[in-house]
């Protein structure tokens, strides 16, 4: 009895809080959310990352936001290495703190992140997600960089002498699979004889293990490695074979190893969202297309140190495909299925 009673007394203040909130909501109903009425001066932008900002994927968002900050467009705050279990709290904290635009990655916290967006309709959310946007304020983006991945695949297919290409991934999630599949399609286009070795290490951050997986492939004859994880290019460098970079350009670190990289640029996405909130035209939207080559959201990195080492004929083929993609005449297939070894 006593317990139930105390439960009831506990409920009372919560009810009055709710009632208070309702009154406030009614009072505020006349005012439009920030993203619907435009913002003068610097926009307050926050980002919530589940991994350190060095991580390739997240670093692209961070870099784009840092650039916007340097231009004086935004005030930028960020939290890194946030556990998925803590993600919702940090989102709420930023929303409560008056951040007008929040970037992040919703992959492992879809439901919670979407609930937060509902609770804070005055804040604009732009999160990495494999799903659809949610009205009125939850936009999505993703690394749709299958086009340059296809082009790097063509280069890999043309550069391999053993006709065996090794691919080491973290987990076979759509974000990884679609790039691997596009890469494989590209390699097969220029070299139908090419075979693939595929393995996943079950971790995003275990470079020693990624390196071991790469060594195992090189022992089986792979002479070009698709470096989806840190550690793979290191194995390729040690064994003096070639590697293809992904998301970021790693050629400066491995000048004699990394032939080409498929780059992701978050600037078009980030700048578009910032401009929309500032202008008061922001709405829930799929920002995915802005990671495409046509919007400069992705690109094939310059061949750099390999400019003279890649055969001219191959370079011409890649160049032609690149032009076709940019002109909208060639569509790279988006295939999110798990890639498998073909030998």
């Amino acid at each position: 009895m006593g317990v139930r009673k105390s439960g009831r007394t506990l409920l009372a203040p919560r009810r009055s809080v709710l009632r208070g909130a309702a009154v406030m909501a009614v009072a505020a109903a006349g005012a439009l959310p920030a993203w619907a009425q435009g913002v003068k001066g610097k926009l307050k932008v926050a980002a919530v990352y589940t991994v350190p900002v060095e991580q390739q994927w997240v670093s692209r968002i961070h870099t784009a936001l840092k650039a916007a900050e340097a231009r004086g467009d935004i005030e930028y705050v960020w939290a890194e290495s946030i556990a998925n279990t803590d993600y919702e709290r940090v989102m709420r904290q930023y929303a409560e703190g008056g951040q007008q635009l929040v970037f992040g990655e919703a992959f492992a916290v879809e439901r919670a992140a979407r609930a937060v967006a509902k609770d804070y309709p005055k804040t604009a959310f732009v999160l990495g997600s494999s799903f659809k946007p949610q009205e009125p304020n939850f936009s999505v983006f993703d690394n749709y960089i299958q086009e340059p991945a296809y082009l790097t695949g063509m280069i890999a297919g043309g550069m391999t002498k053993s006709n065996i290409i090794g691919m080491v991934g973290g987990y076979p999630i759509p974000e990884v699979n679609r790039l691997m599949n596009a890469f494989m399609d590209g390699a097969k286009e220029v070299n139908p004889k090419v075979k693939f070795l595929v393995s996943f290490i079950g971790s995003w951050f275990d470079p020693p293990k990624a390196k071991e997986a790469a060594f195992a492939m090189i022992d089986r004859g792979a002479d070009v490695m698709y470096a989806e994880r840190f550690g793979v290019s290191d194995a390729a460098k040690e064994r003096k074979i070639l590697a293809i970079g992904n998301v970021i350009n790693t050629q400066p670190q491995y000048p004699d190893t990394v032939v080409a990289s498929a780059l992701w640029h978050m600037e078009p996405t980030v700048d578009r969202a910032i401009a929309a909130v500032k202008a008061g035209t922001y709405k829930a939207e799929d920002y995915g297309p802005y990671s495409r080559m046509a919007y400069k959201g992705s690109s094939l990195a310059p061949l750099g140190t390999f400019e003279s080492k890649v055969p001219a004929e191959l370079k011409a083929k890649v160049k032609a495909r690149e032009q076709e993609i940019l002109a909208g005449k060639f569509a790279v297939k988006v295939n999110d299925a798990e890639p498998k070894s073909t030998m």
Binding site: P52, E212, F215, Q253
Partner: protein, 307 residues
């Protein structure tokens, strides 16, 4: 039949055994470290955090201009310090060894990243160092020096534990601290010393990851290797020689799954292969642990004069 033939091909290749020794090294060092702690009666669940701190401290020392061996020493010293913290809480104060150990793990991992970020606030691609290079030896012997340190440690620790007075004393405080006390031994000092020495070895296991296996520090790179070491100690029945066997066995399974996964990738889901080393280890543990004789005073705090 095809699979059997390729399996044999893998097992006789030198490259496979090179990989096995390389993968086994952190497990050998970590298991020996845990073994010393437990032999003295203290369970050290701080291992995962101590390995992370060792990985960071060793790497950071080299990155700041120190030599590779200076990095190894710095890692060991940092490990010993965290060990001292664990021992101070669990030995004289007699706190729960489980809770304290988990606390040390949380502290070690967070502290590592905190220090890393303080020193390197500019986030970019993780900076690298020039790590230990494999020695110019034929076949599977072409390993980095730390692998040989690990192998030498197995012999050294077996010798110290079973052939020297200090080894006898360490084993005694783990079996029957009251009897050790009656012999005039200082149980508290022996246990603290053993935990510090064991933790230094765990830190070396972490340092191997950043100074030999790879050349940069990542927040999560220890990735559960410490927990495997805890299980390997049981597998080894608290004996250094068997610890080496256990670590090698786990490494064989891991090196094998990496190769089998790409070979028959289309047949079985990749997760099955990732599970393989763990499943086989559990199986081995079940078979071996029945006969394991654990240190009698493991996890029992010693209070002077208590009956």
């Amino acid at each position: 039949m095809d699979i059997v033939a390729s399996l044999l091909d893998i097992l006789v290749s030198a490259a496979f055994w090179t990989a096995v020794l390389r993968i086994a090294t952190p497990y050998v060092l970590g298991t020996l470290g845990e073994l010393i702690c437990e032999r003295a009666g203290v369970l050290n669940l701080g291992i995962e955090g101590i390995m992370t701190l060792g990985a960071m401290a060793g790497w950071m020392t080299v990155y700041q201009g120190g030599g590779l061996w200076a990095g190894v020493l710095a890692a060991a010293a940092c490990g010993a310090l965290l060990g001292l913290l664990h021992a101070a809480l669990t030995v004289p104060l007699g706190l729960s060894q489980h809770v304290t150990g988990i606390g040390v793990t949380l502290l070690g991992t967070s502290l590592s990243y905190f220090v890393y970020r303080l020193v390197l606030p500019q986030a970019s691609t993780p900076p690298t160092i020039v790590p230990f290079q494999p020695l110019p030896l034929p076949g599977a012997l072409a390993q980095t020096p730390l692998t040989y340190v690990a192998l030498a440690m197995v012999a050294a620790i077996a010798y110290v534990l079973y052939r020297t007075p200090v080894g006898l004393a360490v084993r005694m405080v783990g079996e029957n601290p009251a009897a050790a006390e009656a012999q005039g031994l200082n149980v508290t000092a022996l246990r603290i010393g053993a935990v510090m020495a064991g933790s230094a070895l765990m830190a070396l296991a972490g340092a191997f990851l950043t100074l030999s296996a790879f050349n940069a520090f990542f927040f999560n790179m220890v990735n559960g290797r410490g927990w495997i070491c805890i299980a390997l100690v049981v597998f080894a029945s608290w004996r250094p020689g068997k610890a080496l066997v256990g670590a090698l066995l786990f490494a064989v399974f891991d090196a094998l799954q990496l190769r089998l996964q790409q070979m028959t990738g289309g047949v079985l889901p990749y997760q099955v292969f990732l599970m393989m080393p763990y499943l086989l280890s559990i199986l081995a543990l079940v078979l071996v642990a029945r006969r394991a004789s654990y240190p009698r005073a493991l996890m029992i705090p010693y209070r002077k004069g208590e009956r």
